[in-house]
Amino acid sequence: MSTHQLPEHPEFLWHNPEPKSSYDAVIVGGGGHGLATAYFLAKNHGMTNIAVLEKGWLAGGNMARNTTIIRSNYLWDESAAIYEHALKLWEILPEELEYDFLFSQRGVMNLAHTLGDVRESIRRVGANKLNGVDAEWLEPDQVKELCPILNISDNIRYPVMGATYQPRAGIAKHDHVAWAFARKCDELGVDIIQNCEVTGFLKDGNRVVGVKTNRGTINTEKVGLCAAGHSSVLAEMAGFRLPIQSHPLQALVSELHEPVHPTVVMSNHVHVYVSQAHKGELVMGAGVDSYNGYGQRGSFHVIEHQMAAAVELFPIFARAHVLRTWGGIVDTTLDASPIMGTTPVDNMFVNCGWGTGGFKGTPAAGLTFAHTIATGAPHKLNKPFALERFETGALIDEHGAAAVAH
């Protein structure tokens, strides 16, 4: 077939400009967080002479690999504040970005399988309500009513003893979210530069004044790091350390099925979470592979384990097939909370450590990080997440509430 027989190419959502020799700010990493940050820098702070540098293709990192769970039912006040702000932004973003990325508020259930789980869950529901986050405790029969394919019988290893439920939580189309931000960035004058890897930084004393890339040196007043799994590598280039370990995190999908699963179900205890994508695939994930890894793949027993858990909870999945599995590189912290703020290098800012659960935070990360870059000071929502907390001891320990933290 020759090209003139093909239908016309649809309009491009963004241009692919050559990098300029200098910008007012450079964002390193063209995933969801980098794009959202650039969008809010342009929209809220009028900074349009900026660039997003992405070493691969736009949103080809964790942004293209996550299982898209969006929720805000975190335990601690600091987390509830920023994730709930994110959820409120998700509720208005399709209109604001003029792009329907299929944000579906089908609810998220977190199952309890032990007495300890039950106590922790009920406590979290209480904490959520006090923070204005919608949350309910469900007894097993209510769980069954909401999600009829769940096995709530007593004859499994870890019977379902109840669940927390956040009705406003849900899923969205991750790649479309990235494209929605990218199109708006482009309209606002932001340069999105793909295949542009940052390989070093130029400093004047302790102040960053430029970035070295495989496409030449770019001068800039400010640098914002949004490199997720590669944050430590970039920090090391800049001359400081981050309390982060990069791990593989895997997920899988089945072939397409007719709609059977109306909500999102997560289980920390048996270690699996499942939703059904708009097209019909069952989407599953679990925890990270235990070892450090930058390979974008993990070990198969992790997949096997999560499928065993899924089949016990959802007996009808026994006849589904794995269509594909994949992995991303997630930047985990010891308190399972992100890091946002200033760094030991002047005019260099970092947004990282979102680990296994940063998709849901994308809009709030972008909004608050843009504020930090533009003003040089923390936003009230990201202030508690500064790097200093590892020194002061004011950790935001979400492990209890979010062992499978997606």
Partner: protein, 140 residues
């Protein structure tokens, strides 16, 4: 899945092991003299090397002994297994480029970070070069 060669038991599946993170992180010599920054470093900061990484593993469902390992965190190839307490062996194996990215640059910034208290030059006795036991790629 990694196939890990325990110094005591031989090659076993990764599922028998427990990961222990970065090796060669000594307990502070004079804990009373540490300031908050130094405590933070000891408690929360670990190297996050892209490339050859010295790390601890526990053979938890076998001999229940700890040992150290050099592993490439991009290819996951196991380059050496050596006893606790032995210095980090030297390796000349360069980090392979990450698959699926446009990057060809060797990570000069992330390799060569020797852990404190070891000299990277001497080779410890009892080192198993895993090339003989681990299959290519070491993961499935």
């Amino acid at each position: 899945m990694l196939l890990i060669s325990c110094p005591n038991c031989g090659s076993r599946d990764e599922t028998e092991f427990h990961y222990g993170g970065q090796a060669h992180v000594p307990y502070p010599e004079n804990p009373n003299e540490l300031n908050d920054r130094e405590w933070a470093e000891y408690l929360f900061y670990r190297d996050n090397t892209k490339g050859t990484f010295a790390e601890r593993w526990l053979h938890s469902t076998g001999c229940r002994q700890w040992f150290n390992m050099l592993r490439d965190t991009v290819t996951y190839d196991i380059q050496a297994v050596y006893p606790m307490g032995a210095p980090r062996p030297s390796t000349a194996v360069p980090a392979a480029p990450e698959s699926g990215t446009a990057s060809l640059a060797a990570d000069s910034t992330t390799t060569g970070t020797t852990a404190p208290s070891t000299s990277a030059t001497s080779t410890a006795p009892g080192i198993t070069k895993s090339g003989t036991t681990a299959p290519e790629g070491a993961t499935k």
